[in-house]
């Protein structure tokens, strides 16, 4: 199945909103670190419901925020969730970004980058569109050290890339981005039931659930364009 088919179905299901709720737990901390200045142009790759762009616009006076998504239904929903005319949406693919060279101040992506059919190509595209000194905030929950994420591929038809911390840093550098930061951001907001509630539908033991959320959380890698 294509990105479009898979994620159009998610959007029709309302899973865009479900992801927004869950991803916000860690995304808000990463977004708060972005050095966005008034007037900056920010691009959100795989925007889903578009919450990141809305948040950046409100918090930092970002000038314009564009959400790109390969699923027309995701983009359509996202457009309906905001009245702000300086938050726009574009249907496009991570493999060939429809943005001009040196046109964007910062790129954001949450739980989306690893769906790129060629992640190295996508990093080169990100580097191309970023202005010198612009940053790429790449946040993922699906990564090698997070063993609890390894099974996710089984329920998604689109092929996913599972890199480690080291592989992210190396791939950023290979694409010509400087690596400025790498961090695991714990999810402190998700409610974890008492021990006697386990096993739950999703978790064998409380320890595993604690490790997944409070320890591994979201892997953030920040690159800067030269």
């Amino acid at each position: 199945m294509s990105v479009r088919e898979e994620f159009d179905a998610w959007a029709a299901d309302g899973r865009d909103k479900g992801m927004e709720d869950r991803h916000w737990h860690t995304a808000k901390h990463a977004l708060a670190r972005m050095p966005v200045e008034p007037g900056d142009v920010v691009l959100d790759l795989g925007c889903g419901s578009g919450y990141a762009g809305r948040a950046l616009k409100e918090a930092d006076d970002a000038g314009r925020v564009y959400g790109l998504d390969g699923s027309p239904e995701m983009a359509r929903n996202a457009r309906e969730y905001t009245e702000d005319e300086d938050v726009g949406f574009v249907v496009g693919d991570f493999g060939s970004l429809p943005f001009a060279t040196d046109s964007v101040d910062h790129v954001w992506s949450m739980e989306a980058f690893y769906y790129a059919s060629d992640p190295h190509e996508t990093l080169r595209e990100v580097r191309r569109v970023l202005k010198p000194g612009g940053s790429f905030y790449c946040a993922v929950n699906y990564y090698e050290e997070n063993v609890h994420s390894h099974g996710w591929q089984d329920s998604i038809s689109v092929e996913m890339t599972r890199w480690s911390h080291d592989e992210y840093r190396e791939a950023f550098r290979d694409a010509g981005l400087y690596v400025a930061e790498q961090d695991s951001i714990p999810d402190r907001d998700i409610e974890i039931p008492d021990a006697d509630a386990f096993p739950t539908e999703n978790w064998e033991t409380r320890e595993e659930m604690v490790e997944r959320y409070r320890e591994y959380g979201t892997l953030l890698t920040v690159g800067v364009a030269p």
Partner: protein
Amino acid sequence: MKESLMDVLCCPMDKSELELEVDDRADDEEVLAGTLVCTECGERYPIEDGIPNLLPPDMRDDVPA
């Protein structure tokens, strides 16, 4: 889409400039329907419900709309 988006958009294939053809507007700024045409390769990208579809042509057409 707001017309100011034109400042940063380009053709996904050859990264050349696009030209905007407007069919329908919500107001002075907001384009609801139209086409983006690549000034280099001539490829035409549709704008529907205010959202430009700039998928590479082979991906755009992979599922019947």
